[in-house]
């Protein structure tokens, strides 16, 4: 693929990753978030964070499978989108749901395992977002950077557990995400075809 087309495609991916946030903002402005708007915002931002995280983890297997090197920069963009939605998710929880009731927040994180799992997922993403620049990659060195960024799998696992533990009876959705994550992890553990 020509370099200019690859760039345009990457730009389109970045723009598309902002789309769910845009739709949510529009729905909020028009009052069409349903009977429980705060709950809708919480669920939607959380699910998009998980989806983008899994998408970013899918980039390397897809790049190898399709022999499509132009996909490589998508990984960072999709990962940063995941971090963005995770931050929105946290903000909705802190500012709208709990309205900065810090004692309730501390109690949630300490005593509710599903909140602890969610907080863990987000904490895993922080160093990844912080070292997502080319400069940071250079300073850390390839091997150390790669090792650090395996945390993305831990973040995804914690996020899936966060989802699983908050569901009341219908486990289909979180199990679907768990299945996708397992497949992606499996794809990375299989011996690589040729050198990457």
């Amino acid at each position: 693929m020509r370099r200019s087309r690859a760039r345009a495609l990457h730009a389109a991916v970045i723009a598309l990753s902002a789309l769910p946030a845009g739709v949510l903002a529009l729905r909020a402005a028009r009052g069409t978030l349903g009977a429980e708007p705060i709950e809708t915002l919480t669920h939607e931002t959380g699910q998009w964070a998980l989806r983008f995280l899994l998408l970013s983890l899918a980039v390397t297997p897809a790049r190898r499978l399709l022999r499509a090197p132009f996909l490589a920069p998508w990984r960072r963009s999709l990962g940063l989108a995941a971090f963005g939605y995770a931050c929105l998710h946290l903000s909705v929880y802190l500012a709208l749901d709990q309205v900065f009731d810090w004692s309730a927040v501390v109690e949630d994180v300490a005593e509710r395992p599903y909140v602890t799992a969610g907080a863990t997922a987000l904490l895993c993403l922080v160093p990844l977002a912080a070292t997502s620049t080319r400069g940071a990659q250079r300073r850390l060195g390839g091997r150390r950077w790669r090792n650090l960024h395996r945390l993305a799998y831990a973040a995804a696992a914690a996020a899936v557990v966060h989802f699983l533990w908050l569901v009341k009876a219908d486990l289909r959705e979180p199990l679907l995400y768990a299945g996708v994550l397992a497949a992606l992890l499996g794809a990375r553990l299989l011996p690589e075809r040729g050198a990457s």
């Binding site: 349903g34 009977a35 709208l96 749901d97 709990q98 949630d108 509710r112 908050l166 009876a169 219908d170």
Partner: protein
């Protein structure tokens, strides 16, 4: 004893307005006004299923039972529902409950009663004047609503069924029909949905068998044509679309209690001091509001019902 020979033009006794009702005729009018007001809500024009209640308008329930807090918007109360028989998303019941056929409907009455049998819904309800009660509803998921119900006191109905002395609990069952209730095609819960109350809880004047809300018949997604409303307990106790009422000697099985006994107790009284193992019950969000509000013991009905549980450890019997 005076002998009274009825004139042909006399109204039969059954048509005479009971004095108690007559004395409260102003409340009656207020209730009618509320019902008429509900008709003017924009949301009401929308639903086909929401045939407006025929017959006399209900009277208001006993004082202290009806809250004057503003009612949740009908639109929200009829579109944000947990009714897993139609799917596990909150929007599913409103979208999918149209397949439920609520007429004709009958209720099987069995167990420790004088005359067990299957009774058409109209006959079951006929002797009891319906009442309007505005109740708080607190879901175990920490959201709440205020809903104007129409219904009959459960206790009045149970007394008419003449429970035997062995009747210690009342068990309820929802319709089991995967054709009409597509959510039952998957075993998310152990169908049919079952719930139960201790007999003294069931006899408590707050316990209501509802047939309507907001001055109209219950929408299917809210448990048409007959549902329980037990306002001091978490919402899942208020079983919907009831087809069976049994008076029993032993504590009956209850669906969520069986599903996760450590999370949902048989009693499930609203209690801010006993957290759900996975989330806090200290506060709740009233649907339509943004700020959380503190959850009250027994959902604010402690004065009326706390006595039912005197001497019980409510942490153990949660």
């Amino acid at each position: 004893m005076p002998i009274r020979i009825a004139n042909a033009w006399d109204a039969p006794e059954r048509e005479v307005t009971p004095e108690a009702l007559w004395l409260r005729r102003r409340e009656f009018l207020r209730g009618a006004g509320l019902a008429a007001g509900a008709l003017l809500l924009p949301a009401c024009g929308r639903t086909e299923s929401g045939a407006v209640a025929a017959g006399p308008s209900p009277v208001r329930g006993p004082d202290g039972f009806t809250t004057d807090e503003p009612a949740t918007a009908f639109e929200a109360a009829s579109s944000y529902n947990n009714f897993y028989e139609f799917g596990t998303d909150k929007e599913d019941p409103a979208e999918r409950a149209g397949s439920l056929v609520t007429r004709p409907w009958s209720v099987r009455v069995d167990g420790e009663v004088a005359k067990p049998g299957t009774i058409p819904l109209e006959d079951l309800l006929a002797p009891h004047p319906s009442e309007e009660r505005v109740y708080r509803l607190r879901c175990v998921e920490a959201w709440s609503m205020v809903i104007p119900w129409r219904g009959i006191p459960l206790g009045a109905l149970l007394r008419r069924l003449e429970p035997t002395s062995r009747a210690k609990f009342v068990a309820f069952e929802t319709l089991l029909d995967p054709e009409q209730m597509p959510g039952q095609r998957r075993s998310v819960l152990d169908w049919p949905y079952r719930e139960g109350l201790r007999i003294d809880e069931a006899m408590h004047p707050l316990a209501l068998l509802a047939t309507g809300m907001y001055g109209r018949d219950l929408p299917n997604q809210n448990g048409a044509p007959l549902r329980l409303v037990v306002p001091w307990k978490y919402g899942f106790k208020s079983i919907k679309s009831i087809v069976r009422i049994s008076l029993v000697e032993q504590q009956p099985p209850a669906t969520w209690n069986q599903q996760a006994p450590d999370e949902y107790g048989f009693y499930s009284n609203v209690n801010p001091d006993v957290d759900h193992p996975r989330w806090s019950q200290r506060s709740e969000r009233r649907v339509g509001e943004l700020r959380r509000r503190p959850t009250l013991p027994f959902n604010g009905y402690a004065e009326q019902v706390a006595g039912l549980y005197a001497g019980m450890d409510l942490r153990k019997h949660f």
